[in-house]
């Protein structure tokens, strides 16, 4: 039992981290009233930037490379998401369509530039990915230490810490109150002097930053290179986590951890008694089936922010 936990928990944590980051981005965007189907594309962009930056600067930055890479991916993700913000907030285009276009654009651009710069469809493996470490002090606690804090990625704990920060920002600050107000009832918020457009831009750009971060963490912990198949569906799974977590940062984190667990089980299940008999397909589709059930109200009703998906038009009633 102990051995099983020791193999499952770190794997689950490491599969969850990118989902947590990206799902938190989705929470910010949707809470401000902008649907973000483009999370997948933002992750692709983050993965691309993270890998390319890492390959380019590994010689200069040494051991700091992965950290600077994910910061670069965060910044580029934020800038890239402005396209979605301009289209869906200022130009009032259908937010879902704009998100679909973001997904296509990110993948097209990423692979195009990869071929242009490296002359082939996928980059080389990075020399400076994230490595697993033992967390000092905590890893020495008996039982808990070896399961949770030995051979883990620091990024997993960064994701959990950021989830708590996101919760604090959304629920304990006036900025968070305003962001949520804009997503629930933009007209009332506008009447109270809140700049709806500005808040929504911030929501979308935060989702770009966190999506970029999530994509780069995925690339630098799990795959180590970039190609068209680096990010396949993780963004949509993060979107599922947003909904399954009921648009709440800690809920989204919990959902992402759970989905990460399901993914990790599909990887390590062969070595686990009982689970070895469960066909892998059930673990693969579990996140999506559960999300549909949650939406249908079988697992506690999931309700979207009221104004999510509706462009705000000043003066319209």
């Amino acid at each position: 039992m102990f051995d099983i936990l020791q193999s499952i928990v770190p794997t689950a944590l490491f599969y969850s981290a990118p989902l947590i980051f990206t799902a938190l981005g989705g929470v910010f965007s949707e809470r401000s009233g902008v649907v973000n189907i483009g999370l997948e594309g933002l992750m692709v962009m983050g993965a691309f930037v993270g890998i390319v930056f890492n390959l380019t600067f590994a010689d200069v930055l040494g051991a700091w490379t992965p950290w600077v890479s994910i910061i670069a991916a965060t910044v580029v993700g934020a800038i890239f998401s402005i396209v979605h913000a301009v289209a869906s907030i200022t130009f009032r285009s259908d937010q879902t369509i704009s998100g679909v276009a973001i997904n296509m654009l990110a993948l097209g651009l990423g692979v195009y530039l990869t071929k242009l710069w490296y002359g082939k469809g996928q980059t080389d493996m990075v020399q400076q990915p994230f490595y697993t470490t033992d967390i000092p002090l905590l890893s020495e606690i008996p039982i808990i230490g070896p399961i949770f804090f030995q051979g883990v990625y620091v990024t997993s704990y960064l994701a959990i810490i950021i989830a708590f920060i996101a919760w604090y920002v959304l629920y304990k600050t006036s900025f968070g109150l305003r962001l949520r107000a804009v997503g629930e009832h933009p007209m009332a918020a506008d009447t109270n002097g809140i700049n709806v457009y500005k808040m929504r831009y911030i929501g979308v750009i935060l989702s770009g930053a966190l999506g970029g971060l999530g994509g780069s963490v995925f690339a630098l912990t799990i795959v180590s290179n970039f190609s068209h198949s680096t990010i396949v569906g993780q963004g949509f799974m993060a979107l599922a986590a947003v909904i399954f977590g009921k648009w709440h940062p800690l809920g989204a984190m919990g959902a992402a951890l759970f989905f990460g667990l399901a993914q990790s089980l599909s990887v390590v299940s062969a070595g686990v008694p009982l689970l070895a008999d469960v066909p892998q397909v059930y673990l693969l589709i579990a996140p999506y089936v559960l999300t549909i059930l949650a939406l249908a109200g079988f697992i506690g009703r999931a309700e979207a922010p009221k104004a999510s998906g509706i462009p705000y038009i000043k003066g319209n009633r």
């Binding site: 704009s98 679909v100 397909v281």
Partner: protein
């Protein structure tokens, strides 16, 4: 009024031109010659009879997924799940093609019907959830895409084959392949499916414009509450729209399964026929006949892209960037249309 129609007509054309100009700028910045690049694209799509046949082949499923999404849009629903419906349609068609032994006159229609039924069933789930519980169809259809992908892969591996990644080819009695069309296009994979796709466009036009059902669907799309007040059964219409929409997408799967490939393989990720259908429907402004033209345009772009690396050294993904930009332009151009109309009103 004439002006309004003109604007509706112009927006897709302007968007395509802007997209192609943006593509040329990207080529210039990357150090390629845009004229050489676009010449290669043209040759890749229309250079000889073989490439024309392949362009038509690629257009065929795009017409159907475009119709699928356009049909749902007409009723105010966003079927982003065409992707999954194509997969289940493809799977069902191949399954019938492999498992059933019958003369062609029964076998082929049966395989096609199976694909339609599978697509319809797959979209019934989001339809009923939307109608009865008010769950947003976008999220449910996205989730259904991945359920379709992973389940189909599992069925291919453990039911249709014994652990292999590709099924056996279907028997000739279920195939849409046409030796005649192949011979006039220098042995491209063009097949009879194009006729089915064009016929489907007529069917969609007929349902929307000539039946009570179509009238009600459009009414529900314009104003759900008014339709309900007028005595229409809104939930029935929502379910029906999704089911018909899914049927079209499932049929697109049959085009790939029975026409182009004759097999189904394990998929590593999205096959993108469904997502590209969103671009097709959008560019075609949800009109069945315009959808055919839009599908042809995207089919030609995608097919021609294959020639760009050898003909001009340009990566094929340039076309994906161009298509994404076209979607942005069409989606965002509603503000241009609105501004133009507003301006016209102010004049009077």
């Amino acid at each position: 009024m004439a002006n309004k129609r003109l604007i509706t007509f112009l927006i897709p054309i302007i968007s395509v031109i802007l997209g192609l100009i943006a593509g040329a700028i990207i080529m210039l910045v990357s150090g390629y010659n845009p004229i050489v690049g676009y010449t290669a694209l043209w040759n890749g799509a229309f250079g000889d009879s073989y490439t024309i046949g392949e362009t038509v082949r690629r257009t065929t499923p795009y017409i159907l997924t475009g119709l699928s999404i356009a049909f749902a849009f007409r009723s105010g629903l966003f079927n982003i799940g065409a992707e999954g419906q194509v997969i289940v349609g493809w799977l069902a068609a191949i399954w019938v093609g492999l498992a059933v032994d019958a003369p062609m006159i029964i076998h082929l229609p049966l395989a096609i019907l199976a694909s339609v039924a599978a697509g319809a069933l797959w979209s019934f789930v989001p339809g009923i959830l939307k109608a009865k519980l008010g769950v947003h169809e976008v999220i449910v259809t996205i989730m259904m895409n991945y359920i379709a992908l992973f389940s189909a892969n599992e069925i291919i591996r453990s039911v249709l084959t014994d652990g292999a990644t590709t099924t056996e080819p279907i028997s000739a009695t279920a195939s849409l392949a046409s030796p005649w069309l192949q011979s006039i296009t220098f042995y491209s994979r063009m097949h009879y499916g194009i006729l089915i796709a064009l016929f489907a466009a007529v069917i969609m036009w007929f349902i929307i414009e000539r039946t009570t059902l179509g009238y009600e669907l459009k009414a529900v799309g314009y104003n759900k509450h008014a339709s309900k007040y007028a005595g229409m059964n809104v939930s029935k219409n929502i379910v029906l729209t999704m089911v018909i929409s899914g049927g079209f997408a499932g049929l697109a799967g049959a085009m790939e399964g029975l026409g182009t490939y004759g097999t189904i393989s394990v998929m590593s990720g999205n096959i993108n026929i469904g997502f590209d259908g969103i671009a097709v429907a959008l560019l075609g402004a949800n009109n069945p006949f315009a959808v055919v033209f839009a599908a042809f345009l995207f089919g030609a772009l995608k097919e021609g892209a294959g020639e760009m690396p050898t003909g001009a050294g340009v990566p094929t993904e340039l076309v994906d960037i161009i298509i994404a930009l076209i979607i942005f332009f069409v989606a965002s151009s509603y503000i241009i249309r609105w501004a133009l109309l507003r301006f016209k009103k102010g004049e009077k």
